[in-house]
Structure formats: C-alpha cells, structure tokens
Amino acid sequence: MTATEILFWFLSILALFSALMVLISKNPVHSVLWLIVVFFAISGHYILLNAQFLTIVNLIVYAGAIMVLFLFVIMLMNLNSNTEPQRNSLIKLAGVIGGCLLLTVMVSAVRSAGEVSNNRALMNEGDIGLIQNLGKILFTQYVVPFELSSVLFLSAMVGAVVIGKKE
C-alpha cells in the first residue's frame, strides 16, 4: 500500500462512519457536527484527486457557511427528546424502501454512464481541478449553464428576501 492508498481508506472509513453518526446521533447538534466531519473527509478525497480548488470551496461553502447556518437554526430551536414526534413504523418502512430504490437508481446510473465506465480516477495527477483550468473551462465551454445556475441562485436569494419581508 502506498501513502495515497492508506489516506484513501482512512478518509473513506471516516466519511462513512461520520455519515452513519449523522443518522444515529440523538442530539441534532451532534448530527450537524458529524456532518461537518463528513465534509472534511470528502474534501480530503478531493485533495487526493489533485483538485485543491474544489477542496477549499467545499470547505468554505459547506463547512464554513451552510453548516454554520444549520447550527444557528438548531441551536435556537429548543429541542427536547420528548417533543420529537414519533412516526409510525409503516412510514419508516416506506422510507427505507424508498431510500434503497433511490440508491439502486443512482448507482446504476453512475455505473452505466459512458464517461465513467471505462475510466479510472486519476490519483495525485490530472490538473482539471486546479483553479486556472477549472475557471477557463467554466467560462468558455460551460459558460451558459454556469450563468444559468447563477441566475438560479439570484432567484433563490430574492425569494428568501421576499419571504423574510412578508409579515
């Protein structure tokens, strides 16, 4: 095993373990903190793929901004264990089945996609994740989807302001 492989297994196990802990934890604040660990592990995977820009943006946006807002909301809610509504077992079963079906669809979609089926991930090489190459491709080849998604963000922001202003 090389150092990269050791890191890969360590990060994978960390990601899976903390993702499980997000679901298992009784306390919602603990769930949020475990979710932050998941983001860190995934960012570690990005570093192994030599995509430093994605790593840092993942940390800034998800761990640094979105999860802080999550913590905000959860800390302000006065959550007691007995106020949590108990769902009946039929709904739980339906949730499990639905989740498994979604997983099957997603895994088969990824496996059958022509672009990934014959390719292996480039470890420690490949420079598409570096900021210069990523920026050039985003602003030339994919400029229309990029701008469209920014309009989408703008509309979400306007929507949030409208909802916030409404009394």
Binding site: A3, V29, L33, Q52, I56, A65, V68, L71, F72
Partner: protein
C-alpha cells in the same frame, strides 16, 4: 507491504521543524501581545500598567499564564462535556492553522539545502486562509452552545453572524487584489510586490475594507459584540474557567498576529525590505533572508499596535450598526472597488 520510502524524509523533517518554530513563535508573540495590550492601554489611560513581575513587568505574561493553569477548572453540570472541551481546542487549532501558508521570509541555505520559509506554498493560498477563518467560528459557537447558558448562546450567535457577514466584504475586497495579481499563491503575490510597488498603493480602498473586516473577524473592539460584558455578562466564554478560558483569550491574540501577517503579506509586500533592491544583493545570502524576516515582523508589529490603538480609542458598535456597516456599506464599497479595478485593468490592456 507498506511502501513509505518514497517520501523525502529530510523534507518532512525540515517541514516539521519549521512548523514547530512557527507555532512556538506565534504562541510567544501572542503571549507578549497581552503584555503590549496592557501597557498600551495603561499609556492611553495615563496609568503605569503591569510593572511588578520582572523589570518593567516583562514577566507579567508568564505570571498570567501560570495563574490560569493553576486555577480550579469548573465544568458546569448541565453542560455538554465533550463539546465543552472541544470548543476552546477548536478555537486555538483554527487560530494556529492559518500560519501554514504565510511566507515568513525568502529562502535560506542551511547545510547545503535551500529551505523555503513557508510551510506550504499551495496554489490556493488565500482561499485556504478564508476556509480556516470561516471554520474559526465553530470554536465560539460550540463553546457558547455547550455551556448551556442563555448569555453564552446569544453571544455565540452574535459572533457567528458577525463573522459570516464580514467574510463576504472581506472576500469581495480581495477579488480586486486577485484580479491584479492573477495568482492565489501568497508567495507569488509577495514576489510581484518586490518587483513593482506594494499592493496598498494600487488598492487603498480594498485594504481599508480588508482591515475593517479583519477587526471584525478577530472580534476586536469596535466589533467585540460577542463578548460585550455590559450586555451579555462575559460573552460566549462566561462558563469557562482556568486554561480553557485562557485558550479562548489566547486564540484572539494569535488571530490578531496571523491576520496582521496576512495583511502585511497581501498589501504591504510581506518580507520585502522597503526602499531596497533585494535582487541586487543576492550575495548577502542568509543575512538578506533574515533582514526580510525582521522587516516582516516590524510590519506585523505596526499592525498589532494599530489593532490595540483602535481598541482603546473607539467605543463598541451597537448590533444594528454593525450589521448596517457590514451589509449596506462595506459590501457595496467592495463591489464598486472590484468594478473599478476591472475597468482599469481592461483599459490598460487596450
């Protein structure tokens, strides 16, 4: 079989030594920042300040540290024990992590090896600093929440919203700088400033916005709302005692040191010696690098003094004033600065 021999062990050793030196140096400087703060406060208020421990009170930080270590440690019964300990540890960790990308000086030659005085020259240096700064708020939030105290929680929430708000203006003010430099690596930015002029000459408004945001990110007066003692008793660390409290207070001083270093690097030429052409004196070797480090430290010291000067001069903002300044004044100003810079760059290229 584990094949770890491919690693350059000497490089690893070199980096480990460098990390140890940088961490010890920042702790030492943070220690004497507390002394400087008390002396400067005393000078501004026409007092003498600490003068009992050692000549001119020079051993006062040691005495303070010993006092914190020997105090009784109280963990509140109703607190969340693990998170209560995690809070100050995270605050200290994130404060120390930023120094990894700061270029402390030029290259030096030791035992036939060229040693770069930067722990990691990553090509996303500035973004790394941003990521760590945005993670720094978790120490405050976790500490405030796990104390199970209303004042602590309110102060932590205030602190978090303040940091999030001012991060935006900080990032926008830096985009103008990045448009000029075309690189995110701090070392490249310093090298560019050594060849031409300091960035503060091209980006005075950007620097001003960045400085105000740095004050806010370090929770320094006039932005120290998360520890406003007259409204919130003591702020997010009300339930903390002993060295855990010390870690929170100490992290603030480490943050101050690192953000001064970042400002000196980005806008004031880093380890560039003012009015001096380094490339003409490469035969000085290590002495040139040491002189550069001395200049860098001097620049940092001036910034730290500025932080303290402001603290003992300006009163604290009200919360709505703080939010108004951040969202309605600094962000539009930073956007305007960005547009002007872009227009000028386009005009010059034509």
């Amino acid at each position: 079989m584990i094949n770890l021999l491919a690693i350059d062990w000497l490089l690893l050793l070199e980096k480990l030594i460098l990390i140890a030196i940088v961490i010890l140096a920042s702790l030492f400087i943070a220690m004497y920042e507390t002394y400087a703060e008390r002396k400067i406060a005393a000078f501004m208020q026409d007092r003498i300040g600490p003068n009992r421990a050692g000549p001119l009170g020079i051993l006062q930080p040691l005495a303070d540290g010993m006092k914190l270590f020997f105090k009784e440690e109280i963990i509140p019964n109703s607190s969340n024990k693990i998170l209560f300990v995690l809070g100050p540890s995270l605050a200290m960790l994130t404060a120390m992590m930023t120094c990894a990308v700061v270029p402390w000086g030029g290259d030096i030659n030791l035992f036939g090896r060229t040693i770069s005085l930067q722990i990691a020259d990553v090509n996303i240096g500035i973004l790394y600093v941003f990521a760590i700064v945005s993670l720094g708020i978790y120490g405050v939030m976790i500490g405030g929440w796990s104390s199970n105290n209303k004042y602590s929680l309110l102060a932590a929430l205030r602190g978090a919203s303040q940091v999030i708000s001012y991060e935006l203006a900080m990032g926008l003010s830096l985009i103008a700088l990045l448009m000029m430099s075309g690189s995110l690596s701090l070392k490249t930015i310093v090298a560019q400033q050594m060849q031409t002029h300091w960035n503060v000459l091209y980006q005075p408004l950007g620097f001003l916005i960045f400085f105000v945001c740095a004050l806010a990110e370090c929770n320094r007066t006039p932005f120290d709302l998360s520890e406003a003692e007259n409204e919130l008793n003591m702020g997010y660390h009300q339930e903390y005692s002993s060295m855990k409290l010390g870690f929170y207070l100490f992290a603030e001083y480490v943050n101050m040191f690192i953000s001064s270093a970042i400002m000196a690097t980005l806008f004031f030429g880093g380890y560039d010696i003012p009015f001096f052409n380094e490339s003409a004196h490469t035969d000085w070797g290590n002495w040139l690098a040491l002189l550069g480090i001395a200049c860098f430290m001097l620049k940092i010291a001036i910034f730290i003094f500025l932080f303290m000067w402001i603290r003992w001069t300006v009163p604290r903002f009200r919360y709505d004033q703080l939010m108004n300044l951040g969202w309605k004044k600094l962000i539009p100003l930073a956007l305007a600065n960005m547009l002007i810079t872009g227009a000028v760059i386009l005009w010059l290229k034509k």
